[in-house]
Assembly symmetry: C2
Homo-oligomer: 399 residues x 2
């Protein structure tokens, strides 16, 4: 028996992996994954853009790059982010191997075993996994339809050991689907002011909004660049180009950036040059903007199909919200309903989703009455076929 380190000896395989194996079966309609639809990737466009590159640029795609990222991508991505109002010049930009790596670097930069870390409840599973791998003491703060509970945050700040940071996904939250209101964002900034609690603002889905009127709500808190709060803004090419490129980024104050760059050096030396060249070309061609506009419409169509199916088939006692962007709809069942049993019946019927408890930073054995549905990787037809299976399973368990 190898003598493993303390930090990993308790690591266990998550149930989500078995679920994903199931979700890839052709006879199952999957509302489980958070992956873009395969049919939506700009395959032809990228191939053509790549073929037009100079021999020298193509060669550089095969070569090591600097740890922070290829200079040309740092420049083009920097411009892309500045157009969103982000303070690129006052901070440092780091290209990461997916935004999952950004979370892992930040976890390693800040967390000693047992350190308290604040997250939303529910919370993105990849963040939970990165923070748990560094033995954080996770504390989940509840969210409502407008964002994280400010009262719960203030209570935490007033009465507990100072947390190492607060991690949130304010824009089309995964898994809860919610979009923070402008008021809630302002209240959050006010509550953190001068508290020396860095904020990790994860914005993987913000580009996928369905309504122009939400543009203000989508403005990153990082773009306000409020004095007195260290905000680390993370983003990803996964939803606006393709997760298979494994490219994300972090925009952070210099001191935090420096530590993360050093950690990245020992983690994987640099992110893939090959896909960095692709992403850079995609941005510089301007095609990224038209591509995002087109997938935005497609996800809106898929979301509308799911909303229509849920309206038609779900019993009235299920609470949920129409999505305003992103990939997810979050269902809350009456207390006492067991989402695990619903999942089991749905799988037998031919549909799969993720139970809400998976996203709970400190999973309760008592409450198991929420679930997440993804519409991102399904055609309207598949949605129309699959939602009745889920609805029937809910009725069978909850009455």
């Amino acid at each position: 028996m190898p003598r493993f380190s303390k930090s990993v000896s308790s690591l266990r395989s998550s149930e989500i992996r078995d679920l994903m194996t199931l979700a890839s079966r052709p006879d199952i309609i999957s509302f489980a994954g958070g992956m873009p639809g395969n049919d939506l990737f700009p395959v032809r466009e990228i191939e053509e853009l790549f073929s037009q590159l100079s021999e020298k640029t193509k060669q550089s795609a095969f070569q090591y790059g600097p740890t922070p990222g290829l200079p040309t991508l740092l420049e083009s991505l920097g411009d892309f982010l500045e157009k969103k109002g982000l303070p690129v010049k006052e901070n440092r930009l780091l290209i990461t191997t997916g935004s999952q790596q950004a979370l892992n670097l930040l976890a390693k930069a800040f967390i000693d075993p047992g350190d308290p870390v604040l997250v939303e409840n529910p919370c993105f599973i990849g963040a939970l996994s990165a923070f748990r791998a560094h033995e954080a003491a996770l504390k989940g703060l509840p969210v409502d339809r407008e964002g994280i509970s400010i009262a719960a945050l203030q209570e935490e700040i007033a009465h507990s050991v100072k947390p190492k940071f607060l991690y949130i996904t304010p824009y089309f939250h995964n898994p809860a689907g919610l979009l923070y209101t402008q008021d809630r964002k302002e209240a959050l900034v006010a509550a953190l002011q001068g508290e020396e609690i860095p904020l990790i603002e994860d914005d993987a889905y913000g580009d996928l909004y369905f309504f122009e009127e939400d543009r203000l709500r989508l403005q990153p808190m990082k773009s306000i660049n409020p004095g007195g709060i260290d905000i680390c803004y993370t983003g990803s090419f996964s939803k606006i180009l393709g997760p298979g490129l494994r490219l994300g980024w972090m925009l952070a104050p210099e001191e935090i950036y420096n530590k993360c760059e050093l950690i990245k050096q020992s983690a994987d030396a640099c992110s893939p040059s090959f896909t960095q060249v692709i992403a850079d070309t995609f941005i510089r061609s301007g095609q990224i903007d038209s591509y995002i506009a087109s997938v935005r419409q497609e996800y809106k169509r898929r979301a509308a199909a799911m909303v229509a199916a849920l309206r038609e088939h779900l019993p009235d006692y299920v609470e949920w919200n129409e999505p305003r962007g992103g990939f997810y709809i979050w269902l809350t069942l009456p207390e006492g309903c067991d989402a695990s049993r619903i999942l089991q019946i749905a799988i037998e019927g031919g549909a799969v989703f993720v139970i809400g408890r998976t996203f709970d930073p400190t999973p309760s054995v008592v409450r198991n009455n929420t679930l997440r549905l993804s519409y991102c990787n399904n055609t309207p037809d598949q949605i129309a076929e699959g939602i009745p299976i889920v609805a029937r399973a809910i009725r069978q368990i909850c009455g």
Copy 2:
């Protein structure tokens, strides 16, 4: 001031980074890097292979893949490794984001702060960086021309706290350039038998041999699969396709594999599908074999050019060995010579290399009389021009 974790608060930027910036200057001849020559990458071949793939396969290049790697690459790479005699079926294969990530995953799996870890002295800088990031207490064991000192290893085993593992690069060692003898490999296996010290066998350069007669010496210890020793065999596409793909692998016993896969999940979810599709296609086309055969000849030619230049220009008191493969030649100067001062003079003259102390697991302030020269990224002409600069700098300092 952010409150960083204990494990990173002491991390400092390494001097090697500034050196690499210098090495990329067009007016400097660089013997510093360990990167393949840009002109050697199979750019046209890969572009053509990719264009012939099915639409479905191209789409999969944009999508998330399973954490352990794309099944098709696990299969083709598994066959590639089995042909080398590696026990693929009795172990588990994990695709990593460069072999640097494999070292990082193993470091996290095994090392608690302060745990002793055995390495060669000198040792690959990426390994040192991964182990230091996990706060290992590094112990360097000397190498001679045949491999690691077995006496020093036995002494360590007999009298010290049991180390978490032993890390070695037996095949065209970076930086020392040496190739373990068959006898030394056998003695090493015998010394580790039943000691419960896992062996990390890093084989990033083994394919780049110059002499057919060395095939037996190049046979991995992992291929003997000796009972009683957990061997984790790591490798990389960096030297046989391109480092910009960021793809490596680890072949490890199941228990160790399982931990590393869980850690990888939280580190970056999966390695880039895009470059995995490329690597898979390259292997399946059979072109990988002819490509390796061609770069092998090219590196042999470059090595010969450096050997000729060193023979002509180096003073007799410098000790060095003709390389039998890989990228590097290791120079040992008389004791008391200061390689840092030599480097400074060489830079002024227009050539750069890495001083040997950089690769010392516990750098001594007293001894600084070794240096590493790379010939991998230089034409014979550049070598003929650059080596006299280094030789002059040596004479200037050492007399």
